[in-house]
């Protein structure tokens, strides 16, 4: 293996720095029409009338689709979960504010926007609630879907009540994380082209071309082969493009109804509610420990918001099942139904919000015990999975703690809050553990050796910023024994071998494994045909007649998943500066050490982790989809009101890659890195804020008013 691990610069770099990379909205098709959504401003009720008479009289306006005149879809609009329930103008019900209630279509974008503005909606509002507190009493347990599999809502071991009774110190607290919105920089976009009455081509900004294909095929009652979905570049996603939402069906319907190709991009305000977000959570933690720090009880109960019409469960309490050695553990998930759009997976779903609560509680326990927070975690290091009572496929958490602490200078921390100042600022240091499952789902790939000795490898995964074009090429080149220049990796097309969703840190591990297997198979076949070394591939193919030699393979998890727990681990360390007068918090340094199996490309891996860590800053200090409770809608619905970390918010971010070998997790030995950088980051920052100020903030984001 020589390419794997190389910090090869991105192969898609040139296309991206020259503007040549084509995202969904940029596919040009002759005769294109433009669609713009009109959304509801009531949070619940019925649409009585959509008055589009003035809009349709405007020049260039081709149609305004409404619940009254939109085509009836011949098939169901929803498939198996996690496919989402969507609103495609099939009835007059309004389930949440900002739900699509009409679509204006015109021959130019400007005319479509103008028409959309002229549409008048008359609705009958019903009583709504968007406040978690109001419905908490009606919370119900619900199983989760995470990493592509179903997980029970509740799990327990031992007797938590007894563990708490036996404890010398206890922490019983409630933590809260706000609703957040993904806000990838590229708004969701769909281009729909009907090639024939029963053949559809779609360019979509998606994390899963096969889900888009299935949803459209189902709704329009066509064989799935008749729907061709293409997505060569996706401008960020973070979970928000994991399921095809309403606009995908609406664009295809609009194209059908006006008889022209139609493109639609959500406007930024449309992205608040209609395409998911991280749900509001309320989490109760109860920890008990002996004087020496050993845990006697760990209870994590999470309630998270979902919509009235669909289910998403934020898996906040999942880590509690696997992270710390403790004889008495309980972990519970409840959902609370509100009149909101359905939340969905958002970068490190469950782990990001859950680790804020769990790791804050541990920090509080460390204070109660007068123990160093890192020491407390080491005391409770789990040598095996505490609930499943089985080994980890690999675990290098101790090395992460040690390496992170050393680089950060943890020994300089003062245990006493408000003990350090710098240039008038209070200085605080905090830490937290990070963990994220090493997910692996079935994936297929093909590899083809051409007569000129170059190889083409394909799998229908996506490039969403993850570096797929680059790392898959590295994996393939190594397996074939070719230099990377001789290998091309292609993706993002529903006619390619099926890949799992590009999300949940699944795809590099899964598709990487499929690519590895298929390239090994191709190499073997070529060797059987007489090849000896990569230099002879061309000759072998030519001798066999010149037609490309092709192999297809599938990688899939097996029984090992029942015998081992598979987690990537990390340790986050934060230093914050807090203005004692203004309560402003700056994250001066964030150091994270992570062990996630084999690193395919250190440059890309570090970049993923850095991005994830900065999401932790956003979560800790800025991000909040603020609801107006009376109106039932998100009012922070643009990038001025919804703050994501900007360049000036970031100071020093240092991800460290800790070496780890895992021969069990998947054939590629990879645990995905897309999410783990966010895990624990908000808690490390909140813990540092406590260390700086003596104020324990249990509800995110930490805004200055909390510290005054």
């Amino acid at each position: 293996m020589k390419n794997i691990g190389d910090p090869l610069p991105r192969v898609d770099g040139p296309a991206k720095v020259t503007g040549a990379a084509r995202y969904a909205y940029e596919w040009q098709v002759p005769g294109m029409a433009y669609a713009v959504l009109v959304t509801s401003n009531t949070a619940r009720g019925r649409v009585l009338e959509v008055d589009a008479s003035a809009a349709t009289r405007e020049p260039g306006v081709l149609a305004v689709l409404t619940p009254q005149n939109a085509m009836r879809l011949p098939g169901p609009t929803q498939g198996e979960p996690p496919d989402r329930v969507v609103q495609a103008l099939q009835d007059d019900r309004v389930y949440f504010s900002n739900q699509p209630v009409a679509v204006a279509v015109a021959d130019t974008f400007e005319r479509a926007v103008h028409a959309a503005l002229m549409v008048r909606i008359r609705s009958e509002p019903a009583r709504h609630t968007v406040r978690l507190e109001d419905e908490l009493a009606n919370a119900v347990p619900h199983d989760l879907i995470a990493g592509g599999r179903s997980i029970p809502a509740d799990e327990a071991r031992g007797d938590v009540a007894r563990g708490l009774r036996e404890a010398d110190a206890r922490v019983e607290q409630t933590y809260e994380t706000p609703p957040e919105t993904h806000n990838p920089m590229e708004p969701h976009a769909t281009v729909a082209v009907w090639e024939a009455p029963d053949r559809l081509t779609v360019y979509d900004s998606t994390q899963w071309v096969f889900a888009v294909q299935r949803k459209l095929a189902r709704a329009f009652a066509m064989p799935k082969e008749n729907v061709h979905v293409i997505a060569k570049f996706v401008g960020g996603a973070f979970g928000s493009k994991g399921s095809p939402w309403s606009h995908v069906l609406l664009t295809a319907m609009a194209a059908k109804q006006v008889g022209r190709p139609v493109k639609l991009a959500l406007m930024r305000p449309h992205m608040f509610g209609m395409v998911g977000g991280r749900p509001h959570t309320r989490q109760k933690l109860a920890l008990g420990a002996r004087k020496d720090g050993r845990l006697t009880a760990l209870s994590h109960q999470s309630a998270s918001a979902t919509s009235r019409f669909d289910v998403f469960v934020e898996g906040c309490a999942l880590q509690a099942r696997h992270l710390y050695a403790c004889p008495n553990i309980e972990s519970k998930h409840r959902i609370v139904r509100l009149d909101i759009g359905t939340p969905t997976f958002m970068r490190a779903p469950g782990e990001a919000s859950g680790s804020f609560a769990l790791e804050s509680a541990l920090d509080e326990l460390a204070v109660a015990l007068d123990l160093d927070p890192l020491e407390l975690r080491l005391k409770n290091h789990a040598e095996k999975d505490p609930i499943e009572d089985r080994p980890f496929s690999s675990k290098s958490l101790r090395a992460c703690y040690a390496e992170g602490a050393r680089r950060f200078g943890w020994e300089k921390r003062s245990a006493r809050p408000r003990a350090q100042t710098r240039e008038g600022m209070l200085v605080g240091m905090g830490m937290a553990t990070a963990a994220y499952p090493g997910n692996f789902a079935p994936a297929q790939a093909l590899a083809r050796m051409n007569a000129d000795g170059t190889a083409l490898v394909q799998s229908g995964m996506l490039e969403v910023g993850n570096g797929a074009y680059t790392v898959m090429r590295q994996v393939a080149a190594d397996a074939l024994g070719l230099p990377v220049e001789k290998v091309r990796f292609d993706l993002g097309d529903s006619t390619m071998p099926e890949a799992p969703i590009t999300a949940g840190s699944i795809s590099t591990a899964s598709v990487g494994s499929a690519v590895l297997l298929v390239c090994r198979a191709l190499r073997q076949r070529l060797e059987q045909m007489g090849a000896s070394g990569a230099a002879s591939y061309a000759e072998v193919v030519q001798r066999a007649g010149g037609a490309p030699i092709e192999e297809r393979s599938k990688a899939a998890p097996g029984e090992e998943r029942k015998r081992y727990t598979m987690l990537g681990h990390g340790a986050q360390f934060a230093e914050v500066l807090v203005d004692p007068e203004l309560g402003m918090v700056r994250v001066a340094r964030l150091v994270g050490a992570f062990a996630c199996g084999r690193v395919l490309n250190a440059r890309l891996a570090r970049s993923q982790l850095m991005g994830g860590m900065v999401w932790g800053i956003g979560m800790a200090l800025h991000e909040h989809s603020v609801y107006d409770e009376k109106l039932g809608r998100i009012i922070s619905r643009d990038l001025a009101d919804y703050h994501v970390a900007s360049n000036a918010d970031v100071q020093s971010i240092e991800p460290i890659l800790v070496e780890e070998e895992d021969t069990v997790v998947d054939p590629a030995g990879v645990k995905g890195m897309g999410e783990i950088g966010t895990c624990g980051a908000a808690a490390a920052i909140a813990n540092a804020v406590f260390n700086a100020t003596g104020r324990r903030i249990r509800s995110l984001p930490i805004t200055p008013d909390n510290l005054l």
């Binding site: 991206k16 920089m185 590229e186 708004p187 973070f238 643009d638 990038l639 900007s646 000036a648 970031v650």
Partner: protein, 154 residues
């Protein structure tokens, strides 16, 4: 309809446009220069940044007619004779990008920062790029890329 004549990436273009046509859509839809992206429609993300007479502007916040008689540089016009601009190369080499959606706007803003001050400090670069949001990279490598390009220019 109004007539506009704009020099785009060195070539003069004349079109009849609606007065309400935004510069960004003129570039993307009329001229098919889709390297300029739309991220927010509301002047906050910077994905649509282009150079107007050398100054970085958000092309979603200008009408095409406001560019009449002026000169626009988009990401497609930065490379000269098939050779990437030093800033483009630096973004690639320093890995100042992931999904790439913010990249064209980021690069053009960065060009303007160095144009004004070739010795911009890290803090000046960070503040200068505050109007360009990136949701993927965490900004660190973006700053490194701008510094590398500055270094190379000296």
């Amino acid at each position: 309809m109004t007539s506009v004549t704009v020099t785009v990436n060195g070539a003069s273009k004349t079109h009849q446009v609606e007065p309400r046509l935004l510069l960004v859509h003129y570039l993307r839809e009329t001229l098919s220069l889709t390297g300029t992206h739309v991220g927010c429609d509301t002047g906050q993300c910077g994905a649509c940044t282009v150079l107007l007479d050398g100054a970085a502007v958000k092309s979603c916040s200008l009408f095409a007619v406001q560019a009449d008689g002026r000169s626009v540089t988009t990401i497609e016009g930065l490379a000269k004779d098939g050779k990437m601009h030093a800033m483009q190369d630096a973004f690639w080499q320093e890995h100042g990008l992931q999904c790439g959606f913010c990249t064209p706007g980021m690069i053009l803003s960065a060009c303007e920062i160095l144009e004004r001050n070739p010795r911009a400090s890290e803090a000046e670069i960070r503040t200068g790029l505050e109007g360009n949001l990136c949701r993927c990279t965490g900004y660190h490598n973006i700053v490194k890329a701008v510094q590398a390009a500055a270094q190379k220019a000296r």
